[in-house]
């Protein structure tokens, strides 16, 4: 269900933000890989195969991979002690997340 993916990402984004603000922890594996998160596992096992005909699905794949690239960059900045730069880069992640949200909504409306 796309709504589940949306709630998952909203929660993930907020936990990641809390982590950057020193208010919590998040596992590195949850952040860096676009193939190992829940959405990634579904996309690369059945999602892309089943809905390959939908251009939005490929847009989602790209936006999702981009989101995790940004997330990895932020995580690396944080690890190397560049907290301010990490928080600034988080603005890019916000935009990445919005794009993923919009695509998930479009797909939900098409496939539903």
């Amino acid at each position: 269900m796309f709504s589940h993916a949306m709630i998952h990402y909203l929660s993930w984004k907020c936990r990641f933000r809390d982590f950057l603000e020193g208010k919590g922890q998040i596992a590195e594996v949850e952040v860096v890989s676009h193939k190992d998160c829940d959405l990634g596992r579904w996309l690369y096992s059945e999602g892309l195969a089943e809905y390959a005909a939908l251009p939005a699905m490929h847009d989602l794949e790209r936006a999702h991979a981009e989101l995790h690239l940004t997330a990895k960059k932020i995580f690396d900045l944080k690890k190397s002690g560049k907290d301010l730069a990490a928080r600034q880069e988080f603005l890019t992640l916000e935009v990445n997340c919005m794009k993923v949200f919009i695509l998930l909504t479009e797909l939900a409306a098409k496939i539903g």
Binding site: F2, W42, S45, E50, A108, G112
Partner: protein
């Protein structure tokens, strides 16, 4: 994990064969994540009969109306209008569901509706997505408009999905019409919310 149980109940209610992504989403390990209210709880009601589907839908619309009404109180003017629009829409949906109940059963729902038609009423107020209204409001307290908007988008998507499923499991033509109409309205909300999110992307 509660969401797994919820998914099972959803299947028991006859939804599994109509959920286009259910099979493909086996990889999901549920949507439970720390820090956000869990969705799906309301499906524990295991609604199957038409009156249960109507009651469950009404219950979720009612909870969502309250959620949006509370959000409208805390956000400034322009953002408040979004929540007011959603609150009014939930009110209209409740009216549609009330009308559907009268059409099918030839009587006005009793004063205990929807509790009188549901096998099990949740102990707390729930809304679209099956979330607790109180927990969701609590979650929004330290969040900005974009976060809350994304939550609303998730909930409306969940609601759209639910009405599509309901439309497919009911036999009554009137119910099919109403659930189709509700699904279409949720789709319009999604378009509206997506457009707002899009605007924020271009800022």
């Amino acid at each position: 994990m509660r969401s797994r149980a919820a998914a099972q109940t959803l299947g028991n209610a006859g939804f599994s064969d109509v959920h286009s992504l259910e099979g493909g989403m086996k990889a999901w390990d549920g949507l439970v994540a720390e820090g956000i209210p869990e969705a799906g709880m309301a499906y524990f009601l295991g609604a199957e009969r038409p009156e249960e589907l109507i009651g469950l839908s009404w219950l979720l619309e009612d909870g969502s109306g309250i959620f949006y009404s509370e959000l409208a109180k805390v956000f400034p003017e322009v953002e408040r209008q979004v929540f007011e629009m959603l609150e009014q829409a939930e009110g209209r949906h409740k009216d549609s569901l009330f009308g559907l109940y009268q059409d099918i059963f030839g009587k006005v729902p009793d004063e205990h509706f929807p509790g009188s038609v549901l096998r099990d009423m949740p102990r707390e107020r729930v809304m679209e997505g099956g979330m607790s209204v109180a927990e969701a409001l609590q979650w929004t307290r330290d969040k900005d408009f974009s976060d809350v908007l994304e939550l609303c988008l998730s909930l409306e998507t969940n609601s759209y999905d639910l009405y599509i499923k309901m439309r497919r499991v009911v036999d009554d033509e009137r119910a099919i019409r109403v659930f189709s109409s509700l699904a279409e309205e949720e789709k319009q909300h999604l378009k509206r919310l997506t457009a707002i999110l899009d605007e924020r992307l271009s800022v």
